[in-house]
Amino acid sequence: MNKREVKDLAVGVGFLAPNILGVICFTMIPLVMSVIMAFSDWDLTKHNMFLDNELKFVGIDNFTKLFETGDFVRYLGNTLFFMIGIPLGMGGSLLAAILLSQEVKGSSRQVWGSVFASFIFILSICLLVLLGLGQSAMIILIVGIVGLIAVIGMTTGVNGYRTLFYTPHFTAGVATYILWKKMYNKESGVINNAIRDPLMSFAEFNQALSPSVMQGAAVLLGLVFALIIYKVSTHWGQMWIDGELGTMAWIICNAFVFIPVITSYFWSPLGFTKWIIAALGAFLLIVNFIRYFTKGRDFNCDSFAGAELAIVFALIILGILFLLVGLSAVTFNLPAMTQDGVLLPPDWLFEYSWAKPALMIMGLWGAIGSNNMLLYLAALTNVPQSLYEAADIDGANAVQKFWNVTWPSLAPTTFFIFVMSTIGGLQGGMEMAKTMTGGGPGGATTTLAYFIYVEGFETGRLGYSAAISWTLFALVFTVTMINWKFGNKQGE
């Protein structure tokens, strides 16, 4: 190494030193210490600079203890529940990105016409609110805001919409959570105020119907559920035969959609419709699987070929199936819920069965207007126009173009977003739980991240807390490995 190179090296190291030191002091050392903690009885009431108790290594005791009380499994379940929203959020981001990639600016006459109409409309609403129109004004106000957004779009073009959609990402987490807490308020929240009257009207309407009508509707939803399972399993089976989907990938996809089938069997609110959902769903899935398997493949491919896109698709279907199960349960129970002619809006954050969905809906709102949307926007601009032109020549309609051109072209981005969202989902929920629900009611919204925090600081048992953290890390690491295996392949 000559003098010049040594000098360059010194300058380079000088530049890097602050960062390297920071990483060593604030990341590497704590990381190593947390490994030691996880396998020891490290406890703040026994081990700190003022106490000279010997640190004992306890092997995997802290890890086995995770499964003794059932808390860990329960809170992992909560964390996974919140993650059901990820595919839906991704779908929302994609939809938003597609919409935001269209040019929407209106003509001058349209713009000024809309501005004037909206101004008059909003002014009227303000007057109505001031005159005490109350709850109904809230619905009109929301419609007014939607009108205002339309005006912004027409005057500023797509950039205005892009800014509006990205707003959730600018907003500080805690401020957002407090705002949503107010919106979810049972008595005075904007959501319940908006749905209270429609629910009451619906309850009266529903009371006039025979209970069998609603139960019939629940059965219909169950049939839709089974139909979706049949369609997707047929789609994957055909892909497997054509050599577009590997055997393992095919099995994984089918396993994913099997989750809501199994869950619905054990979910009592579904009543007898669970037999349609669980039995028919399982039957169609298994029969389709066996049918294609016994047919044999026309073309062979790698075991995991096509896994990345198919898994993301399977997860989106999983989200939709869970939604259908939920809707079916609500429909089935509506006659009982409205027997007094009253249907009250939910107590979003303080009712055990609603707290989790409430937080998930809030998460969806944040996820749609997040970096995912920007990533999709960027990815959409990279789709070669020649593909769309070729599709146009072939006479493809908008849906066919999306399905055969846009969706496959976005596969690497979709997979990347999915993996990053999963990692974020596993690690998240701490601020949300602390600010909005304190982990309740009855532990319904306690996530693993919040559990780590509570264990670490309320009991001082850092060893146990570190064991939870490392178990969480193992889950995140597994997801990262999946990304590494399939994400790289996509990149290639």
Binding site: V11, G14, F15, D41, D43, L44, T45, K46, N48, M49, F50, L51, E68, T69, K181, K182, N185, K186, E187, S188, D347, L349, F350, E351, Y352, G440, P441, G442, G443, V454, F457, E458, T459, G460
Partner: protein, 500 residues
């Protein structure tokens, strides 16, 4: 590139030196101590009085001003104190309160102030006997009581009554020693009359009452006499909590968490409960004398204060926000001076004037400035009662040496929450909580042999107590470790002569 690097390095170095030089310690000619406390507006005045007190008592700095300056810092539920405390960089003086006292004592970073407290006059013996146990700990080796804390203020939580809320509905306000049955009857009537014609309930008898006090009022505490096991499965304990859940879910005389959130009132010191009490949504509020800080801002109310409802054993909880000197402090001498100030008449007077709970010195409550503050005649009925409750009815929390209070509270609260949300019966939920706490106890005993020995001795004592009680025989006070049962047994006449 080199020049850029040097420029950035120079800017950062100058900024670092500038930041260091701007630290309060660098500007001050006298030592500065940091006091971590709650975000109470009264703290500013208390610091001013401390500085004046130093000047009056000859504790002067080189500039003729006070010898020590205090910087107030706030905390987020104790976590900052824990992280800084175990890391060696905590504030010189820290306030600790509630269920964290035992936890902090166990972490070993509070200075043992037994000797200096005796010498400088801030011994625990100078303050209210009801809270002695919270300020001290018995050394298992010597058997002597060692002091770690001195109170900044003391609380005997009680039900504060807005008499107008009752009289405007044609109801008699509750009496000082109301029974649970009377309270329930009154609360139902209040709820019925106050909410008449309303779509949803807006008026409740109170925001909450501490459940453990209601259970104690039935003669049962969360732990047994020797604190070796929980009483969660005791029929009276279960009944008491079941009733509380019924009050919320069925009788609707207490608000549910959802009702509380619907009020959307969280502003101001003391939180939303006191604001809603002042507005009349709650006819009573469960708080300490410190609640007056917020009440005084909202105007005069016709106030009374009563002991929480009971079923034979009226009681309330004694608590303290107590100050401790950090073991790793570089300014211990100055911190002791601050503790000395906390035991002064001047400090107690600031607590009295500011209504920041009860003052550390009991004798200061004998004064008219305490019982009849000239500016607040509407409060004259309550101050003497507060002092009386602290002396007669207040008992500290039962903190078992075998398991952390924070852990027990979490398991108990989780079980209660399950039952409140109708996810499980209270019996099942408490059974699970009981078994989890027992597991925690066993875990702690495995880790600590000395504790295990003490536990075995206490188990034998418990067996003897149970046997004596079954036979209707009296037991010596020294057998009982639970502060609640010490008082309860005395009140029931179950102690031997030695015990009385």
């Amino acid at each position: 590139m080199k020049n850029l690097f040097i420029t950035i390095f120079t800017i950062l170095s100058v900024a670092s030196v500038g930041t260091y030089m701007s630290l309060p310690e660098k500007k001050s000619v006298v030592p500065i101590i940091y006091w971590v406390t709650d975000a109470n507006p009264e703290r500013v005045r208390q610091v001013e009085v401390f500085e004046k007190w130093q000047i009056d008592n000859g504790h002067l700095g080189p500039d003729g001003g006070p010898a020590v300056k205090v910087m107030v810092d706030t905390d987020n539920g104790g976590h900052k104190k824990i992280i800084q405390g175990v890391s060696g960089v905590a504030a010189d003086v820290m306030d600790i309160g509630g269920n964290q006292l035992n936890y902090f004592k166990q972490m070993g970073f509070l200075e043992n102030i037994t000797e200096i407290a005796e010498e400088k006059g801030f011994s625990y013996k100078t303050t209210w006997p009801a809270i002695s146990e919270l300020l001290t700990e018995v050394n298992p080796e010597t058997g002597l009581r060692e002091q770690y804390l001195y109170p900044c203020n003391i609380g005997a939580s009680a039900l504060w009554v807005n008499k107008n809320a009752f009289t405007r509905l044609g109801l008699e306000p509750p009496s000082t020693l109301i029974t649970i049955e009377e309270f329930e009857k009154l609360a139902k009537e209040f709820s019925k009359r106050a909410n008449e014609g309303l779509k949803s309930k807006k008026f409740f008898i109170s925001a909450n009452i501490e459940r453990s006090i209601l259970a104690r009022g039935e003669g049962v505490s969360m732990f047994n006499e020797t604190m070796t096991s929980t009483n969660l499965l005791h029929p009276s304990y279960i009944e008491s909590n079941k009733r509380y859940i019924r009050w919320i879910n069925e009788d609707r005389i207490l608000p549910s968490p959802s009702d509380m959130a619907s009020f959307s009132s969280e502003s101001g010191y003391g939180g939303g409960n006191i604001q809603l009490f002042m507005k009349g949504n709650f006819a009573t509020t469960y708080t300490g004398r410190w609640g007056l800080i917020a009440m005084r801002r909202s105007g005069a109310l016709d106030l009374d204060v009563i002991v929480p409802p009971h079923n034979g054993f009226p009681n309330t909880k004694a608590g303290t926000r107590a100050a401790a000197v950090y073991k790793g402090s570089k300014h211990k001498k100055e911190a002791y001076l601050f503790m000395e100030f906390l035991a002064s008449r001047e400090y107690s007077q600031t607590i009295i004037d500011g209504a920041d709970a009860m003052p550390p010195l009991p004798e200061s409550t004998k004064d008219d400035s305490y019982s009849k503050p000239a500016k607040y005649p509407s409060e004259w009925a309550v101050h003497d009662k507060c002092a009386d409750f602290l002396a007669k009815y207040a008992i500290v929390s039962e903190d078992s040496p075998y398991v952390l209070g924070t852990v027990c509270e979490r398991y108990e609260a989780k079980a209660y929450d399950k039952a409140l949300n109708k996810l499980d019966s209270l019996e099942n939920a408490y059974e699970e909580a009981h078994s989890l706490i027992e597991k925690e106890i066993q875990y702690n005993l495995e880790q600590n042999k000395a504790l295990s020995k003490q536990y075995d001795e206490d188990l034998l004592l418990q067996a003897k107590i149970d046997e004596y009680r079954k036979a209707g025989k009296k037991v010596p006070l020294s057998w009982i470790k639970n502060p609640f049962y010490q008082r309860y047994y005395a009140a029931m006449g179950w102690l031997t002569e030695e015990g009385k």
